[in-house]
Symmetry: C2
Subunit: 343 residues, 2 copies
DNA sequence: TTGAAAGCGTTACCAC
DNA sequence: GTGGTAACGCTTTCAA
């Protein structure tokens, strides 16, 4: 692999000055057309491409870069968060380096390092399920690079964040099912021991407690929702397990809409009528939730708005000293057909 | 906004040399611990952060960046393409700058310029519907930055691409409907005059011709599918128009699954039974297509694989002189309930 | 119309 | 231990 052609190479070969070459290549005036032609020809032959590093350094112009790291990039919620971030970023001439951690803390750490090496002026990230706060976040805070955490939370994190009230969402969803006469409410949850899944689960349990119902261990199914292409299937399987119980549930609160769709699948195939025999509430307000039949009641999560706010917080954090920005979005329950009550 | 602190600022303030400051900040040996402490303190106070441009220029090393520009980032197909690109990129220590053109050629051009300013070593893009080849692509080719076009095509483009056989997909979908006994097949198409939409439309027309059917102008509805949140509605409206005709169609081939879902919506609300009274085929194999009822027959598009290949092509193009890499994926028809034939 | 030279901020080398 | 200085490749100013 030969070395990259630079202005000097062209100048030397033609026995002229760097400046002249520069003028030719940048369409400046004051240049002999014939020499210009020669220069362009040689430049083309040598495959000259300007070194943007040098150009930017000289011009002292650099487009700011922000690193965005998400667990799963082709997940509707996360890709919508990314869209929200980009909407703001583009309007402020900031570029986004995006990465996908695939729920792998090692990968997460590696990508964060690369972001830092690349010189991002900030990081917006949704941590993986098992993210290591010490290893991933501390070094970034140490380098005084602004960071905004979205969607999930670290235990002792005290920095900028944009979250949703998952506990409240789980509580509302469960309470809604109770209000509509369901008694034996199951919950299909994710494997998270921290954050999101756990919060929704806590909300579910708390709502049962508040109604004087003792949560039934058998009604809580933990399932792996990491692979977006398999989640619906997981919901289906979990429902199958629930309906093998001596006393199957009469309602399911699912940790995500995709899981809920798996529940609906199972119900349809087994002639369990919704909402009469089985009430269902999902979580996310995915597009599909409104087009599946029966239409799925769900907890609304506004990824776009969260993304926008996260970027705003990055901007604010960049130009403030140590001030911290935090927001927890309340979640609204969208009531549709799948939870309208028993016959 | 004050100027950014640099090594010289710290050196001047402490009356020492740049070199010493440099050593302190980069944990080099040969430095007095006391001066080092002072330097670190001041650096911290001034919020010193190294200028990466200068560092990289000097070290002549930079993590390669590839710009990826997609029309809509939270669209399942495109976010899956992005996932495919990232899978390859991460494994090769390349970072991805992602951008969203929102189907706006002006925005597209602007983001491409920013990518180039940022010094990307390549670009992978799905052009917007009205992308201007001259304006968007030529300047990049001119700077000899490798570019890989995915999903859509420019008329006279002769570079690297990864496409799907949209014509073939449209042909297969239409032929399948014909094979199942539908006679009056309508097509809800996008407004594209080039690429995707037009190709699928051509496939539709060609399949009709091949069967000796003269395409009926009234059965071809062009609709705007730019706004992902409104596409289903557009499909609904288009279907309403079709059913106002004196002789409504008995089948619809929809340019996307979302459009097809709008068709199904309309049919359900108007007691038109699927597939007996109306056969439907969509396009994309979106997740939803398999969970809506009746399950939607559709043409399969593998975004992940396309993304991976696009990145491979970028890699190959980077290390070859002028060689061109092109691939058109065949598309498979997935036959489900929505097109099983007339009663 | 052309060229020399001084930067941009960091790093590496050599001398003190 | 410390400091001077020459690069990295491009852009801009000033002089010829």
């Amino acid at each position: 692999m030969s070395k990259r052609t630079k202005l000097k190479d062209i100048a030397d070969q033609l026995g002229i000055s760097i400046t002249t070459v520069y003028r030719a290549l940048n369409n400046k005036s004051d240049i002999n057309l014939e020499t210009k032609r020669e220069i362009l020809e040689l430049a083309n032959k040598l495959g000259y491409r300007p070194n943007l590093l040098a150009t930017s350094l000289r011009k002292n112009k650099m487009i700011p870069l922000v690193g965005v790291l998400l667990p799963i990039i082709n997940h509707y919620f996360f890709s919508t968060v990314l869209k929200g971030i980009m909407a703001k970023a583009h309007s402020q001439n900031t570029l986004i380096i995006a990465g996908e951690s695939l729920q792998n803390p090692v990968k997460e750490k590696k990508i964060l390092d690369q972001f830092m090496d690349q010189g991002v002026s900030g990081i917006i990230m949704a941590p993986t399920r098992n993210s290591n706060f010490e290893k991933s976040i501390i070094p970034i805070l140490h380098k005084r690079t602004p960071i905004v955490i979205i969607d999930r939370m670290y235990d002792h994190y005290r920095g900028n964040y944009v979250l949703t009230d998952d506990f409240g969402g789980g509580f509302k969803a469960t309470q809604h099912l109770l209000d509509n006469g369901y008694k034996r409410i199951a919950h299909i949850s994710s494997l998270d021991n921290i954050s999101i899944g756990a919060e929704r689960r806590k909300g579910y349990i708390e709502a049962l407690n508040a109604a004087g119902i003792i949560p039934n261990e058998e009604y809580i199914i933990l399932t792996d929702i990491d692979n977006p292409d398999a989640v619906i299937e997981k919901g289906y399987e979990a429902t199958a397990r629930l309906f093998k119980l001596k006393n199957p549930p009469d309602a399911v609160f699912a940790v995500t809409d995709d899981i809920a769709i798996g529940v609906i699948e199972y119900a349809k195939e087994n002639n369990i009528s919704i909402p009469e025999d089985l009430g269902i509430v999902g979580f996310s307000n995915s597009k599909m939730s409104n087009y599946i039949r029966p239409r799925l009641s769900t907890v609304e999560q506004n990824g776009f708005e969260m993304g926008q706010l996260a970027f705003d917080y990055f901007t604010k954090a960049s130009s403030s000293y140590g001030e911290v920005f935090q927001k927890t979005f309340d979640l609204n329950l969208i009531i549709r057909e799948s939870s309208l009550g028993k016959k």
